[in-house]
Symmetry: C2
Subunit: 336 residues, 2 copies
């Protein structure tokens, strides 16, 4: 039900995902009256793998999370998370209120042992032909040093397990690279991370390193991560707009248009995953279940990508991997 | 003496500025032995407007600000700021340790009445052919709601006085546009700014709006501002690198190279000021004197731009304008 468009986007996206994954079954939680008509023209074989779970309400996207949580009983978001808790679903995908999703998921599923709060994580392609795991992206506007250390460990597991990077490099996002720079909680986190056995910590990096490929995992609080990711999106959008030539100078030569289009294609091929349509689907890490947050503005294709992320997380059993890694690292190290 | 290169960059930049401004006199504070040789070949008329003020030490760029301040007596940075305090200089330009410069400037010059802490501010060109004032850029890694309100007022004065924008729009950087989003101190700041008479507050904006032109002033704490600005720089650098074609596909066609070069020129013309060489020189607002922070990595040309910013700030008497505006707005409004 969530996101800017609701079922008209999420239901067709669900059908797309079902068509691509023959093992997939989807539970669509929401208002049956709004979902059913969108399934009417679907292939009957696909329809057999879709089940509508009725909900009585929908969490408003602009609701204050604490208020939304208090009135969440019977809501589609809460029911979807309860399905995980009850073992009836392996993952939950939502384009709804991020704060409420984070709060409800934490409340219902409870963080893994040794995790204070889950973090929202996504990957960003970098210039050295790889990807950087970025977390937190907004689940925790503020994070203390302990949380940053936990984010670092979770990010490293994701880089290793999903992206196949051996001994992934981990950096803390700061406003300077020198050890003396930045607020105390980030310097404290650096001190704690250095003590961790088995974490390849490479130091502080700055906003300019989001795409530089100097690290495999970039750790920050949710405010900084959100600002950095959205700044990146805004700059890319601005550049593509300027390149596509809304200006007068570009209108005159058709060949220039062709080259611009091919260059745009080139940039998009390399940085295609920066396109929200392609990299959509941030994972909420640190819970015993899989919860994927889609952009509210996600298109049908983008929401299908978020479902794809959920499938991959289920196949790779990410929560279990994180749990095991935390136990191992913390058992060998001197910090809690 | 400051920055990555010291006198070999700052002294030639000083000579450049003197050549452009016949009324300008410059006091070069530092080690005479390092400065003098760099003036040897300068035009004798220019030399008459340069005065070397000897210093006994230099604040290390990687020193912890509080430690640097404690040992700052006799340092070039401190002496330069004392020259302002004593009325012997109108402005101070430094490429040195930002934290130390901010701390010493605050200690020696004392913030204006009604200003808790000065903020570092710069302007960023946006896609609608204008510029956005961004503050704080790193002077205060953390900022409470009162500081954010003061930043908003100072940014509005700068937009009005320096950029000539009538009734400039002011926004707070947040991780969502809805009033319920983000950490409490930012929501509190929004509440306070709304009560200000004569401030055109337009609400929360996100990182993606840094270049969108939706606001004339974008207000945030120094951590977020620094991360956003540096992310922007990093993304632009990445894009220009990709466009210039380090990749194989671009090597083959010379005509494509030509178009790329012209497009790069087009982007740089529009976003030239994003080039650190051109937009170098962040102002420390909120002090009774003019203090300009240059990038540590500034080139000769970039450092000359920072000197230019100082000259403009002196001509427009920015500190006085801010002081008057604060008195007026606060006298008419209900918040302190």
């Amino acid at each position: 039900m969530g996101g800017d468009f609701g079922p008209p986007v999420t239901v067709p996206a669900a059908l797309q995902a079902l068509a691509s994954h023959s093992q997939l079954e989807l539970l669509l939680v929401g208002y049956p009256d709004e979902i059913q008509p969108l399934l009417a023209r679907a292939d009957s074989l696909l329809r057999q793998r879709v089940h509508i779970i009725p909900a009585e309400s929908v969490v408003a996207s602009d609701a204050i999370p604490s208020v939304a949580m208090r009135h969440s009983h019977g809501s589609s978001m809460r029911i979807a998370l309860e399905l995980i808790k009850e073992g009836r679903a392996d993952a939950c995908i939502s384009a709804g209120n991020t704060g409420a999703l984070m709060g409800l998921a934490t409340l219902l599923l409870r963080p893994l042992e040794n995790i204070k709060r889950p973090a929202l994580v996504s990957v960003v392609p970098h210039i050295r032909q790889g990807q950087t795991v970025l977390l937190d992206l907004g689940a925790n506007a503020c994070a203390d040093s302990t949380m940053l250390v936990q984010f670092a460990m979770m990010g490293a597991v994701l880089a290793e397990e999903v992206m196949g990077i051996k001994n992934p490099r981990v950096a803390l996002l700061n406003i300077g690279q020198e050890a003396s720079k930045g607020p105390r909680h980030i310097r404290d986190a650096a001190g704690k991370i250095r003590l961790l056995d088995g974490l390849n910590y490479v130091g502080f990096l700055e906003g300019s390193d989001l795409l530089s490929g100097k690290t495999d995992v970039l750790v920050c609080d949710g405010f900084a991560g959100n600002v950095s990711l959205k700044t990146m999106e805004g700059v890319i959008k601005t550049f593509l707009t300027l390149m596509t030539g809304t200006g007068q100078t570009m209108k005159r030569s058709w060949w220039r248009h062709l080259v611009v289009r091919s260059m745009k294609g080139r940039l998009m091929k390399r940085f295609g995953e920066i396109d929200p349509d392609q990299y959509n689907g941030a994972s909420l890490l640190g819970l015993p279940g899989i919860v994927i947050k889609s952009h509210g503005a996600a298109s049908e294709r983008a929401f299908a990508v978020a479902i794809e992320h959920a499938i991959q997380a289920v196949i790779r059993n990410i929560p279990e991997k994180i749990s095991v890694r935390l136990d191992t690292v913390l058992a060998r190290s001197d910090i809690a």
